[in-house]
Amino acid sequence: MTRKNHLLSAVAIGLSVVVFVVPFAFIVLTAVKDQQQASLLDFSWPAHFQPVRNFIDVVEARDYMLIIAFINSTILTAASVAVLVVLSAMVAFVLQRRRTRWTGLINFMVLAGLIIPPAVVPTIWVLQKLGLFRTMPGLIMIEVAFGLSFCVLLFRAFISTIPRELDEAAIIDGAGPLRLFFRVILPLLRSVIVTVVVVQSVFVFNDFTNPLYFLPGDENATVQLTLYNFSSQFTTQYNLLFMNILLITIPPLIMFLFFNRRIVAGMTAGAIKG
């Protein structure tokens, strides 16, 4: 019995290395090679180990485009996630606590947001009418609108575990709706807020399609767009391309290392409710 498990483990570990570890090792190895060796595209140990030079080259490329992209992506991620947390927690709170004729409609809207693919050109049309097309605030609002459903589901599931007696106690102490929500409920949501923030930051940071449509242009590029543009411009400099891939893999990796449990909880809870 135990021997069989060890055999199975060995096979599983071996397969996992081939299927999942090798591609990441390939990214790292290619990112530190010199240009000539990287263009061979093979899986080999770097002859000239030059991570610093490749790093500097990729950062300096196209007038420090990557730095601008990282700044843009950080602004986009931080702003949209912050707005998302507050707005979706407010919706989820009332949705979970109060049953009225609106409840059905709002539940329907939440599900619609998960299923329906956004209509691209009409969205651009609306943004243009509002003067928000090709602007960072426009894209931030887009990310909020498209992320609301998922976050509302996560928050609603968690709020249902907070006893109503707590609300009533606060109300007896004279708290109005705003104070009840921001002073009593929101602090209790801390753990699910961490989950939402982590999961949603990874989503927004990795988002390629929405910036492509709604925020074109070099001065506004996000990291995913920059990477995509690099791939068509630096077809011969694979070491720089993979250094770029490596650099934009690091933020999710950090999130994963620190918040593994939270991400797993958020992904499964949100998924099963949906």
């Binding site: 498990n5 199975l8 483990s9 599983a12 570990i13 996992s16 999942f20 591609p23 390939f26 990214i27 595209l41 093979d42 707005l87 407010m90 919706v91 709170f93 949705l95 606590r97 109060r98 609106w102 947001g113 998960l114 299923i115 693919p117 209509a119 691209v120 050109v121 049309w125 609306v126 509002l130 609108a145 498209f146 609301l148 509302v152 609300d167 109300i171 007896i172 709706p177 009840l180 929500f181 990874v202 990795n206 390629f208 399609t209 990291v223 995913q224 990477l227 995509y228 791939s231 891939i245 934009i248 999710p252 999130m255 994963f256 797993v264 992904m267 499964t268 998924a271 099963i272 949906g274």
Partner: protein, 307 residues
């Protein structure tokens, strides 16, 4: 009783209108919906609703001219566009089918007594969090027909690997495989959550009755992980039907139109300035997603209730 006493101080601050008083009574006011509803309504509902009209027009961003169903006629007459619809369906079915099978197998493996379980779970899940564009570009290099690592390794084994992304008959499936590589971690995670929630006594009782590993998989895990299966199927179908970034990063719909899907058609028509046609593509995608996902989720969920 308690609530009526509580609200007296609040009421004095309100104007004396009866409606306002009634509204102020609930500690869960409706206007909490408002900020989210404005953003969602303006940037999601309005475009979705207007897309039905704009898909019937010849449209540049400044003016639109009503032309009836011409865009749809064009969409379904142009072989390149129709094949996009077919590819979308193939892609969605292949990816979600593989995610269900592999996700379930991996979840059973990763909940059993094996060494390095934590490592295996992490390594299977991590690709979910990595940039799709990064994964796409990496695999484009790995799948290079002559120099790529995959075909080089196959050559060592004496197998002549195909041109994964350059051969028209393989391109779409190769991208689908990479999609599975990236997404199977999420399916596994959902299945693990489902399997872990099965009471341990069931397995013990089955073992006492002489059930082997296969029996407990077939008779316990498979039926009781049903809701996980429903979730994985629905989620990966929605994702697969809408899929754009991976395909765009790896093949841009090529070679020819052999890996074009609806989402990439929408982008190409948008780039070409055919906004009406692009929006018609959006409506087609909307119809396909709802026509598949809604009945399927209703069907799967009903079966579950009957069990």
């Amino acid at each position: 009783m308690a609530t009526s006493t509580v609200h007296r101080p609040a009421r004095t601050r309100e104007p004396v209108s009866a409606a306002a008083r009634r509204r102020a009574k609930s500690p869960y006011p409706h206007w909490f919906y408002l900020p989210a509803a404005v953003v969602y309504g303006v940037l999601f509902i309005v475009p979705t609703v207007t897309s039905f009209y704009f898909s019937l027009t010849r449209w540049s961003i400044f003016d639109s001219k009503f032309i009836g169903f011409d865009n749809y006629v064009l969409f379904f007459r142009e072989p390149a566009l129709v094949s996009g619809l077919v590819h979308t369906l193939i892609y969605a079915v292949v990816t979600s089918g593989l995610k269900v099978v592999l996700g379930l197998l991996l979840a059973v493996l990763l909940t059993s007594q094996i060494v390095a379980r934590g490592y295996l779970r992490s390594v299977v899940f991590f690709p979910v969090l990595v940039s799709t564009i990064g994964v796409g570009l990496t695999f484009t290099v790995l799948m290079n027909p002559e120099r790529g690592l995959i075909n080089q390794s196959l050559a060592v084994l004496g197998i002549d690997g195909p041109g994964w992304l350059t051969d028209p008959s393989y391109a779409l499936l190769s991208v689908a495989l990479v999609d599975v590589w990236k997404g199977v971690g999420l399916a596994t995670l959902i299945y693990i959550a489902g399997i872990v929630s099965i009471p341990q006594e069931y397995f013990e009782a089955a073992r006492v009755d002489g059930a082997g590993a296969w029996d407990s998989f077939r008779r316990i895990i498979l039926p009781l992980a049903r809701s996980a299966t429903v979730t994985v199927v629905i989620l990966s179908l929605i994702g697969g039907l809408r899929s754009f970034d991976l395909i765009w990063a790896m093949t841009r719909g090529g070679p020819g139109f052999t890996s074009d899907v609806i989402a990439s058609v929408i982008y190409k028509q948008y780039q070409a300035g055919f906004y009406g046609l692009s929006t018609a593509g959006n409506v087609v995608l909307f119809a396909v997603v709802t026509a598949i996902v809604l009945p399927l989720s209703r069907f799967l969920n009903r079966r579950e209730v009957e069990l």
